[in-house]
């Protein structure tokens, strides 16, 4: 029997934490009674949340022996969602993700579940930023493969990609630069050592690269040791992206000394020191110091050196360049005007290509274009040339928005794109000749990235389109409203003779199951709007023998006919949701951690600036760079 799940409730594994938080919560509920704003808050809470709690939660979560010591019977009058947003975030997630109520308890209908969680979400969105300002804390983060390669290239000025041999980095929150998720399995350390040795061998064999390493040339025998020290320390400083401490210097000195004592040649001593620097955790990890233990609020401003690395890894996926280092050394990098200047400079630089590869490549799932295998029988046109072209197209549009500082809404409604002859043919655009990409106007049937073949391909199955995947893709990556998880044991979409008809008709039958309807209604409607594009993104009027019906109604009553229409609808009516979605994704990518409830303040602030400046991309990046989570760090104690 598992009538109650003592250890599984909301995944609380630290009851002490709960007890403390509940004490705070109840104390707060007394003082909050006088809050002038609470009238409207109470209204929603009473109408939509309290009945839900009473019906589905109180059985276990009430009285002195409440499960997980969580007593919802205390929440009959006051929501206190704001004071205890962490708790309510968990409640909301647990109900939304069907962790609660447990499987053997009375279950809410889909509508009840949605209404309850939405009401909590509404409460949470009213979060008062004056209550708590927290920048959050990023776990010590190792370089991922892309960052490793680019860093080594910049460090030595040699074109090498040793990380190709490294195992893939795990993805979390949609990106592969998330500190918590980047683990260090034993094989990786092996690869680090091998790569370091290979890189050093290569650099020492290359006259030019070697020259950059041995800047200080001794003129006399006496100067030799000093020059060696200077060269090695200078290299270590760049590799560690900060000035060396005494202990750093001592460690390196001892390493060289012990090799020297053992009769190792000068050449090999230098090689050993360089290799050691490349395997050192100071190089492989981005180490940021915690606030001092006696720090009162447990929050500190990042140093200019730490900021230089945050900036360069955010926008370039590599180490800071000389200018960033110089500003850090001068101590002026953290001045807001300087940061603004640097954002513009860095986005203009060719190095911002990294943002296209690594951010856009993951946000829009462009990286998956390389691995999709459309059925050659159904799509004989699809070849590697087209595969590369469709990825390049989206990359170029993204890069254009970055470099020309255009509105992020271009991603949704741009009437231009980039095509070479191969892609133009695929889209039915005339007048493009040759393999070079040029800027072209889109035909009226296409607008923005939703109609890019890259996006259409990665949201399809090898043999057919998947309106569900396409709809889900829009909800997740454009609107930032990932659909709730499907209930367990959903009956399958029948493919047998009883269920003949178009895909749309069969999906309609699927939706007759109320457990599926509430979410599939949304996903399918959006996805079917894109049905005029086949599984490799070419235009079609028919699906098999049946004409395509690309019309749909959104929950707000607006209607559309086809993908272009849908894109325009999203660009006009869902601009705020899209801006929030992109802001959150870029913030996750910039910080290397997931969004926490307290980040909503920073996000709101960035959005305000973005709206005030016509949604320009640089304003979004500047907003992130000047936000508290980017500039500060809190100690782990405040968590």
């Amino acid at each position: 029997m598992r009538a109650r799940h003592p250890n599984r409730i909301l995944h609380f594994r630290r009851p002490w934490w709960l007890i403390v938080s509940l004490v705070v919560l109840f104390a707060a509920s007394v003082t909050n009674g006088a809050d002038a704003n609470s009238g409207t808050v109470q209204h929603d809470f009473r109408r939509d949340v309290v009945p839900f709690l009473n019906q589905f939660c109180l059985d276990c979560h009430s009285g002195d022996d409440a499960e997980a010591k969580l007593r919802f019977d205390k929440f009959q009058e006051q929501s206190n969602v704001q004071q205890e947003f962490l708790l309510w975030e968990k409640v909301q997630r647990a109900v939304r993700d069907r962790k609660m109520p447990p499987g053997d308890a009375l279950q809410p209908t889909e509508d009840e579940r949605l209404r309850g969680t939405n009401a909590i979400a509404t409460e949470l969105s009213r979060f008062d930023c004056r209550l708590a300002s927290r920048p959050g804390r990023v776990t010590i983060r190792r370089l991922n493969r892309a960052e490793y390669d680019r860093t080594v290239q910049d460090l030595f000025g040699v074109d090498i990609q040793p990380a190709r041999a490294f195992p893939t980095d795990d993805v979390g929150h949609g990106f592969d630069n998330i500190a918590d998720v980047l683990s260090i399995p034993p094989i990786l350390l092996e690869k680090y050592l091998e790569a370091a040795e290979a890189v050093v061998d290569q650099v020492f064999a290359n006259e030019e690269a070697r020259g950059r390493l041995f800047v200080h040339q001794p003129r006399t025998e006496e100067e030799k040791v000093d020059a060696f020290r200077k060269n090695m320390f200078q290299f270590a400083e760049r590799a560690f992206r900060r000035p060396l401490t005494e202990s750093d210097q001592l460690g390196l000195f001892r390493l060289a000394e012990s090799a020297f004592t053992n009769g190792v040649s000068e050449e090999n001593i230098a090689k050993t020191v360089c290799t050691a620097i490349l395997v050192s955790p100071h190089f492989l990890f981005r180490v940021e110091d915690d606030p001092a233990p006696d720090d009162e609020d447990g929050v500190r401003d990042l140093s200019d050196w730490e900021l230089a690395s945050r900036l360069s890894y955010f926008l370039w996926s590599t180490m800071p360049d000389d200018e960033l280092f110089a500003l850090a050394r001068a101590g002026t990098l953290s001045e807001p005007d300087e940061l603004r200047r640097q954002v513009v400079r860095m986005l203009q630089s060719p190095k911002s290509r990294a943002l296209v590869d690594n951010f856009a490549g993951q946000w829009l799932q462009l990286r998956d274009v390389a691995t999709r295998m459309p059925d050659p029988g159904r799509f004989p046109d699809f070849d590697d040339e087209l595969r590369q072209a469709i990825r390049r197209e989206t990359e170029l549009v993204f890069a254009t928005v970055v470099h020309e500082n255009r509105s992020i809404v271009d991603f949704l409604e741009a009437d231009y794109t980039f095509a070479n002859e191969r892609l133009a043919k695929h889209y039915g655009i005339d007048g493009v000749v040759g393999p070079e990409f040029q800027r072209v106007s889109l035909p009226p049937s296409r607008r923005g990235v939703l109609t890019h073949a890259s996006v259409l391909l990665v949201t399809s199955n090898p043999t057919r389109t998947s309106p569900v995947k396409r709809g889900k893709w829009i909800l997740e990556n454009i609107l930032g409203e990932p659909p709730p998880l499907p209930p367990p044991n959903v009956p399958e979409l029948k493919d047998d003779a009883d269920a003949l008809g178009t895909l749309r008709e069969r999906m309609q039958q699927h939706r007759e199951n109320p457990a599926c309807a509430s979410c599939h209604e949304q996903m399918d409607t959006l996805g079917f709007g894109m049905e005029n594009f086949d599984a490799i993104g070419a235009w079609r009027d028919l699906d098999g023998p049946a004409p395509i019906d690309p019309t749909g109604n959104l929950p707000d009553g607006s209607t559309f006919a086809g993908a272009s229409d849908l894109a325009k609808l999203l660009a006009n009516g869902k601009k705020e949701a899209f801006a929030r979605c992109l802001t959150e994704k870029l913030l996750i990518y910039a910080l290397g951690r997931g969004i926490e409830p307290f980040d909503r303040c920073a996000v709101n602030e960035i959005l305000k600036q973005l709206e005030g400046d016509a949604y320009r991309f640089q304003t979004l990046v500047t907003g992130i760079v000047l936000s508290e989570p980017f500039l500060k760090r809190e100690s782990s104690r405040t968590k």
Binding site: R98, P185, L255, E492, D496
Partner: protein
């Protein structure tokens, strides 16, 4: 080459023969306890490998009609004809922790992470991933310490590079069956060339002994230096960062340990008479077979005794064009009872089985001890789902090939009562490999019947 620590004891051959003679069809659980560490008393060590296929299998063409010896091979298992008497078909085993147990959708992700851990994964897409230690890693920490590599993790797919994997589960779950700890999935190597170089080519053939000695000494000093740095950082930062630096330090120690063994027992590639693989071949079957070769070579040279191999990641939607199947595997596995889709699925299942047969035949062709390498192996092959359409986690498809150094009596189909934990099999395997433990994940005891 055979230096190993062996525990005395276990049932002697004559005793086993006697039991067989008495006509005991299925050993009772208590009989397992007669052989608490049923390791072969002398001779070569026991090796173990675990192979994973995604999306379940078409069970009606997998499950033999009869129990015990002499069963007729169903369609999917037909490629195993040559090695039928070297393997057990185990049915009825269950991974309860692969079920949602209140966590909702995500059976594919769970099917991989639970496959060798028997632990309920925590549903998270980013931080705080949590599974359990997998059976191969339990072995890696014991018998793995006697070889240069504690274990070898292989896979043909490299995991997702963007987006989400399965219903709110981190991609680490669907792309990892090997877990060194609850939060430490092991990365898998997908390029046979890199595997080969890692196993055999780390020694520079042209380097003189003196140069090699110096190189090793310098490496050692580098590792000392970086370990010092890691410990310093660890002292400065808070607990949440410790795991990362612990992982780093484990890696350092692992390299040091290997360097100490390096000189004595590496076989040079030329001795093996095996050409260095050229990289990842475009043909999927060839890719799988090359990875199988790597397992064989590693076992043959005793570079490791433990390996895992994911033929594809959980939920893989790879088409099988070489079989005339353009549809994605995952897409197909939601067959909805369509016989045309069933036909394609069992074809895919059989294709994987052909590759498994290749591995077993190859192991069998290599002399070892008084017999062949397969005699000293335990190779588990299966999926974390039964039927890809139903997403069930009971009555899972599982094969156990090899004789475990004489501790297994293969050639039979054993049907266990439904809900028998899969992890009981792992307890029994660890016992036979000389790495006994009381519990793996949700195990309730050893699995009876592997030996008559």
């Amino acid at each position: 080459m055979l230096r190993r620590i062996r525990e005395p004891n276990q049932i002697s051959l004559s005793r086993r023969a006697a039991l067989k003679g008495m006509g005991v069809a299925l050993a009772l659980p208590w009989m397992e306890s007669l052989a608490p560490a049923a390791v072969a008393s002398a001779g070569p060590p026991v090796r173990m490998a675990f192979l994973f296929v995604p999306n379940g299998v078409h069970m009606p063409d997998w499950k033999p009609q009869t129990n015990g010896y002499g069963f007729q091979l169903p369609y999917i298992l037909e490629p195993l004809r040559e090695v039928q008497n070297d393997l057990l078909v185990l049915t009825g085993l269950t991974h309860d922790k692969g079920r949602d147990n209140g966590d909702g959708a995500g059976d594919h992700a769970r099917s991989a992470s639970v496959f060798l851990t028997g632990a309920q994964p925590r549903k998270t897409s980013g931080s705080n991933i949590r599974s359990g230690m997998s059976v191969d890693q339990v072995a890696a920490k014991t018998i793995g310490q006697q070889t240069r590599f504690p274990s070898l993790e292989l896979g043909c797919e490299r995991g997702r590079s963007a987006g989400n994997c399965d219903s709110g589960y981190s991609c680490a779950y669907s792309s990892s069956i090997s877990w060194a700890g609850p939060a430490s999935p092991m990365s898998k190597e997908s390029d046979p060339k890199l595997v080969f170089q890692r196993l055999f080519a780390s020694q520079n053939a042209t380097e003189s002994d003196r140069a090699a000695t110096e190189r090793n000494a310098l490496r050692k000093s580098i590792l000392d230096y970086v370990a010092d740095d890691a410990r310093q950082i660890q002292r400065r930062l808070s607990r949440t960062d410790h795991l990362k630096l612990d992982e780093y330090l484990t890696g350092v120690r692992e390299i040091e340990r290997r360097m100490e063994r390096q000189t004595s027992d590496v076989q040079s590639p030329s001795e093996l008479d095996y050409p260095v693989p050229k990289g990842v071949p475009s043909d999927y079957g060839e890719h799988i077979r090359l990875m199988c070769d790597m397992i064989v070579l590693a076992f043959q040279t005793d570079a490791t005794r433990v390996s895992t191999f994911m033929l594809a990641d959980a939920g893989s939607n790879r088409p099988y064009a070489q079989l005339g199947i353009p549809d994605g595997h995952h897409d197909l596995s939601h067959h909805g009872g369509d016989p045309k889709k069933h036909a394609k699925i069992r074809q895919i299942n059989r294709f994987h089985m052909e590759q498994f047969a290749y591995l077993l035949t190859k192991l069998k062709s290599i002399p070892e001890g008084n017999g062949n390498l397969l005699d000293y192996c335990m190779i588990a092959y299966g999926s974390g789902l039964g039927d890809g359409n139903r997403h069930n986690h009971d009555d899972l498809p599982m094969l156990l090939a090899g004789h475990g150094g004489g501790t297994i009596d293969p050639g039979r189909h054993i049907q266990y009562p439904i809900e028998t934990p899969m992890t009981n099999l792992f307890v029994s395997m660890l016992e036979r490999a000389g790495s006994p433990v009381d519990v793996v994940g949700d195990s309730t005891g050893p699995l009876p019947g592997l030996q008559i």
